[in-house]
């Protein structure tokens, strides 16, 4: 068996909201192998976002182990987490999260800036990433000049430009119409199959989750395989 890219053991996370402690995650166990496409489903309030934040190294668990690509993230400081997000993880968000009033090209360049890539190389890689997404003619467009599908493809280009080992997609089709949704999912399938990109998809739409090889349900803070 290959070493898992993601290795999670007995993960716990609680947070306090309006004075009430919410135990969002109560002992999550999950292994994701390199090249796998996993969908995590669950009703709203099931802890999907909390899990997503921890998987994306945006937050740290209260208890339990999380190894990403062999690195123990529970022992990392904020700078190391930032570096890990930069190198290992590509984010695709429901609301695209493109930098406002910033061109598509500059958006895609941003992670490379924090990776310390030089200007010329940065521009070249960002352009290539956008061209691969079929956006070669949209380099100078601002987010508000792009359609939903285009904006999400810019976000995917930005997620992949640092060649991460994990693509983390949080409801990537939540803000687009059906046709665009189909297009984006086809793109993710293609990236998974042709480039062997590991994808963890978080969604509440069953037909979107269908694209994954493995579907998991988050219920009461625990993961279970779909029956």
């Amino acid at each position: 068996m290959t070493t898992p890219l993601l290795q999670i053991r007995d993960l716990h996370k609680a947070y306090v909201l309006d004075g009430v402690t919410i135990h969002a995650l109560r002992g999550i166990n999950l292994n994701v192998a390199p090249g796998e496409f996993v969908a995590i489903m669950g009703p709203s309030g099931s802890g999907k976002s909390t899990l997503m934040n921890i998987l994306g190294c945006l937050d740290v668990p209260d208890d339990g182990d999380y190894h990403l690509n062999g690195q123990d993230i529970t022992r990392m400081g904020s700078d190391q987490l930032a570096a890990l997000r930069n190198h290992e993880i590509g984010f695709v968000f429901q609301n695209f999260n493109l930098l406002p009033r910033t061109s598509a090209l500059e958006n895609v360049e941003t992670p490379l800036i924090y990776a310390g890539v030089g200007k010329r190389e940065r521009r070249q890689q960002a352009r290539a990433a956008l061209e691969r997404m079929g956006l070669g003619d949209r380099l100078g467009h601002l987010p508000n000049q792009l359609s939903g599908g285009q904006a999400q493809r810019v976000a995917i280009a930005r997620a992949l430009v640092t060649k991460p080992s994990l693509l983390l997609a949080d409801e990537p089709t939540g803000n687009v119409d059906t046709a665009t949704s189909t297009e984006i999912m086809a793109l993710l399938d293609e990236l998974n199959q042709q480039e062997n990109l590991t994808i963890v998809l978080i969604t509440h739409e069953p037909d979107v989750a269908e694209h994954a090889q493995r579907q998991l349900f988050l219920r009461d803070g625990q993961l279970e395989a779909r029956a």
Partner: protein
Amino acid sequence: MNWTTALQLSLRALGRNKTRAMLTALGVVIGVGSVIAMLGIGSGAQQRIAEQLASMGTNSLVVRPGSVTRGGVRTGAGGITTLTRDDADAIAELVDVLAVAPSVRTTAQVRYRGTNWGTAIEGVTPDHVTVRSWPLAEGEFFTRRHVLGASHVCVLGQAVARELFGLRSPLNESIVIKGLACQVIGVLTEKGATAWGTDQDDAVFMPITTVQRKLLGITHIERIEVTAVDREASFRLLKEIKSLLRQRHRIREGQSDDFRMYNRAELAQTSEESARVFTWLLGSIASVSLLVGGIGIMNIMLVSVTERTREIGIRMALGARQRDILWQFLLEALVLSTAGGVLGIFLGLGGALAVARFSALPVTVTPVSVLVAFLFAGLVGVFFGLHPARKASRLRPIEALRYE
């Protein structure tokens, strides 16, 4: 992330909101501009005062006859006649003395043909020109020989020349002073009023001997102006002259002086001190506006951090470290303050020039004041930019990302 990239990010962020950036920088522009202009006006005034003091003789002190009590009656100042030109010569021998100018003074009607003018007649020696650093406009000053011979010559102040001769040159003309015909051999340049309002140009200067013997019929003198080699020396001289004159006038222990002295250096110090205070005052008032400009930067940066919370979250998700965010916002504040500083320098220079042109005030903008104002602006940027930048960098990524 290297410096140029960080700077580019900041410039781009500022460029997205140009009006706001310009208005924010405007506070610093006005602050730096007013600091430079105010310091310019202040040091100009300081310089003007220094010049006036120099023309008055800053390192000089004045000896005058004192009062004396005879049979219970105290005469006023200058009531005794013990001060002589020999005293002046003795003072001139002292080491710290640069020049000595004894003088007597009276007032008289001065006549020239049909016109006349009441003015001060000052009996002085040729050293007078040096002591009061007062050059001639035309002709020349009388010489030692004129003094020895008690010659009937005189040098006119500008006001007297104007009153008696109008626009014509008074040189070699003869004027009559108390029945004495005197030849005009020189005219002094315009000097203006003293600090206490006497028109210095309204006077006629004659050899001291001529005034003593032919106008007043006296042998004593009324005033000795002593120029010390420097300001320190002027303070030493006060004591030296005191003991010298007491000895010469055979004043016994316990008896009071028959002369009085005052030191112009003291006056000079006071004036210079007040000019400095004036400069500081202007500078501090202007600094307040720079401070207000800085608070404007902080205000806008705080608003900007709140507005861009989501952007900060996105950047953090994409791999920005806390210090990357800190530097981005700090650099934005610094760019605003230094750009404001540069524009403020021009505004300050322009303002100083305008003040110099439209008022009689001299204005001197020194490179030091420009540098200080600019550095102060930079400091303001760092100081007021640091808090918003820290606030931005300490946002938690998940909260920033979810911020609506």
